[in-house]
């Protein structure tokens, strides 16, 4: 993304727009293939590998990276970090778009997407972790929609409705944290049922805890990472508070992320110790596990700490991006890379280009929606009519 994308007045043929157009076109074509020819035509899924990157990336990574919404609103409204108030709206917006498109992406992966509501209508499969995930995601998407609603209501000038929505803030925040705790952790718990398929270094009875704790890390890092990107692209949309306080947010969130990463590292070690899997660390999978542990958990923990100590904002922002990458790797490890590790190479899964195409298409849609909204609604600045109002 670059500064020119928001000018728009001069020309729509900016490099970004051209790429975006091509990605959307490709997405539409693959969409047509997927829904007319079936999953088999667009994916490399097989009977051994029923889940690919549409679950591993679009669902698991998508939900983890959309954690910024609950993390930020909890920090501001529950833990009273009022000075980060300016960051709530962008974080809630990304959370909302993130979840919305997780649900959109699910329609590609489900064999019969039009039955998406069946679990709640025809068969309450309460013994399934997926049921819990589905219920919480559905409820949380509603919560995020309500949390986000003041922005469009201000934009449209519906003062009374907006007032009602704003009054719900506290309740929605608490709901949001409860629902996020539940579904972030149960995404990890999905894999509890398959101890014989997931590599022992990644399989652990603590998987739900790992997923929850790492979602906090993902949320914090995503808010910083995204802040960096939107500073580049939407600088002119930001108000005084946003511009002046975002450095302090980076320092605060960087510190928090470093602490949570340290805790995460510790419990991951406890996980290995509990299963007594030390001997596996020297195998190829073990080395890959160590890459994740040292390169994407210990290292960012250290870099965040150094960045905060030296007030090195560049370093913290780089670390945020690195941590986000680490989360992507972790979720793919569990769902795809270390899953079915025992099978011979010929039975393993590698994504079809169309699967990657849809994932890129979904990410592009999120960016385009984000751009559409922040260039119109009061997200990065306070609406003049409601300035300084206590929320």
């Amino acid at each position: 993304m670059s500064g020119e994308i928001i000018t728009g007045k001069k020309t729509v043929m900016t490099p970004f727009n051209v790429i975006a157009g091509m990605v959307v076109l490709m997405g539409l074509i693959i969409t047509a293939i997927r829904f007319t020819k079936g999953l088999g035509a667009a994916t490399n899924l097989s009977d051994y590998n029923p889940w690919g990157i549409w679950i591993g990336f679009d669902l698991l990574v998508g939900v983890a990276l959309a954690a910024g919404g609950y993390v930020t609103s909890a920090a501001v409204y529950i833990f009273g970090m009022k000075k980060y108030h300016f960051a709530v709206r962008p974080a809630v917006l990304t959370g909302f778009l993130g979840y919305l498109f997780v649900v959109v992406a699910l329609h590609y992966d489900l064999g019969r997407p039009w039955r998406l509501a069946y679990p709640f209508i025809v068969g309450w499969g309460t013994t399934s972790l997926l049921f819990e995930v589905g219920l919480c995601v559905a409820l949380y998407l509603t919560v995020l929609f309500l949390e986000f609603s003041p922005a469009p209501l201000e934009w449209l000038g519906f003062k009374k409705t907006r007032y009602l929505a704003v009054r719900l803030t506290m309740v929605l925040t608490i709901f949001g944290v409860v629902l996020s705790t539940l579904h972030q952790s149960s995404l990890g718990a999905l894999f509890l049922i398959a101890p014989s398929k997931l590599h022992p270094l990644w399989y652990s009875p603590y998987l739900p805890v790992f997923f929850f704790v790492s979602s906090i890390i993902a949320g914090l890092s995503m808010v910083m990472f995204e802040g960096m990107l939107s500073h580049r692209a939407f600088h002119d949309k930001m108000d005084e508070e946003h511009l002046s306080e975002s450095d302090s947010l980076t320092l605060g969130f960087g510190k928090a992320a470093s602490l949570v990463l340290a805790g995460y590292f510790t419990i991951k070690i406890i996980g290995v110790a509990a299963g007594n899997h030390w001997n596996l660390l020297t195998t190829p999978y073990g080395i890959w596990f160590l890459v994740e542990m040292i390169g994407f958990i210990a290292l960012p923990c250290f870099l965040y700490a150094v960045g905060v100590r030296d007030k090195n904002l560049m370093l913290i922002r780089f670390t945020a991006a690195w941590t986000v990458l680490g989360i992507v790797i972790n979720r793919l490890n569990i769902s795809v890379i270390a899953f079915n590790w025992h099978l011979p190479a010929s039975d393993r899964y590698f994504p079809h280009w169309m699967e990657i195409g849809i994932s890129v298409f979904i990410v592009m849609l999120i960016i385009l929606f984000y751009r559409f909204i922040v260039t119109r609604m009061p997200i990065l600045y306070e609406h003049p009519d409601y300035k300084g109002e206590e929320q």
Binding site: G38, L39, Y77, G123, L130
Partner: protein
């Protein structure tokens, strides 16, 4: 983990998530469940199997499956490591022992009809049912196609119709449930020429298996595969070679699928119950801290104001004094001038 499903549902209900769940489904129960008492099963005596593929043939016809990839008379495919697919609910594989003098071993693969099926507990629309007769059946009319059942099945059994754009189904062996219902025996069992397959009550099959082991200790490994694996299965196996050598996993453990996830599920009501209380508490504390800070701040401001007042009064007094003195001096000077002038 000793939480019964009913209790769990009770909590959920109490926590206000739902009020409309509650039909007890034996198949996906997470309480201790050792199988329906008279449920049927099949004993597969691997030592008797000759790899004729008659069972594959009969299964194909009974279930009206598409034409097989190779004719059932073709024995060469046995050597390939095949699995169940949308076209084959069952396959027979051949395993050559490392010891060249030993004869090859054949093993039939199909759904094991677990006593507490992982696939059923994983399904979020309850498309699978463990019937009291034994078979684990599937209902395509409710299936959403999430394929979590396939992730969950430890035996890699369910296959999916990926090429079907509108009506893809999960497919697997049904244990010929309709035939059992009608008092017949499963198709594959009925055609087996060597009685490598025996159909009956699971209880009885277990005794038969134990008896065979007792009578021929040299012929069999002393283990009935499926008695306890993954909480027990309706399909049982006897073998002359270690099970892992013929592609059967020996590391599955005896915990059933539902047991593996019951812990995580039982935490749900805890989170729903405790989190809001804790969070509101924290919120209350932050509020109080803020208020205290505010009061302190107020106090500080008042003190500062007072101090400032004090100082300014002094200043004003000093200024007035100064002015007074100045005026006095000026008056004196003026008087002096006057006097001078008079003089």
């Amino acid at each position: 983990m000793g939480i019964s499903r009913r209790k769990f549902l009770g909590w959920i209900g109490a926590a206000g998530i739902s009020a409309s769940i509650g039909k007890p489904a034996g198949a996906s129960s997470i309480s201790q469940f050792s199988g329906f008492p008279d449920s049927k099963g099949v004993l597969h005596d691997i030592t008797r199997c000759v790899g004729c593929r008659s069972c594959e043939d009969s299964c194909n016809k009974i279930n009206e499956l598409p034409e097989p990839d190779t004719l059932f008379s073709d024995q060469t495919v046995l050597a390939k490591n095949r699995r169940t697919t949308t076209k084959a609910f069952t396959v027979v594989n051949q395993y050559i022992s490392k010891n060249a003098s030993e004869k090859p071993v054949f093993r039939k693969i199909q759904c094991n009809h677990c006593l507490e099926p992982a696939c059923a507990s994983a399904c979020f629309v309850r498309a699978f049912t463990k019937t009291p007769n034994g078979p684990v059946t599937y209902d395509p009319d409710v299936c959403v196609g999430c394929r979590y059942c396939m992730i969950a099945c430890p035996f890699d059994i369910p296959a999916y119709e990926y090429d079907e754009p509108l009506t893809p189904r999960v497919v697997k062996c049904t244990m010929c449930a309709p035939r059992i219902e009608a008092g017949e025996i499963p198709g594959c069992v009925s055609v087996c020429p060597t009685e490598a397959l025996t159909f009956g009550k699971r209880k009885n099959l277990l005794s038969i298996a134990r008896e065979r082991i007792r009578n021929n200790p040299d012929r069999y490994i002393d283990h009935v595969y499926g008695e306890y694996e993954m909480g027990g299965t309706s399909w049982l196996y006897l073998s002359g070679v270690p099970f892992h050598e013929i592609g059967m996993r020996e590391d599955l453990g005896i915990k059933s699928g539902p047991e593996l996830t019951s812990g995580a599920l039982s935490i749900v009501p805890m989170i729903v119950g405790l989190w809001p209380v804790l969070l509101t508490g924290i919120y209350g504390m932050t509020k109080r801290k803020e208020k205290n800070a505010f009061i302190e701040q107020e106090g500080a401001v008042a003190a500062a104001v007072e101090r400032a007042n004090h100082e300014s009064i002094k200043k004003i007094a000093a200024a007035i004094e100064k002015e007074r003195l100045g005026k006095k001096k000026a008056m004196e000077a003026a008087e002096k001038e006057k006097e001078k002038g008079i003089k």
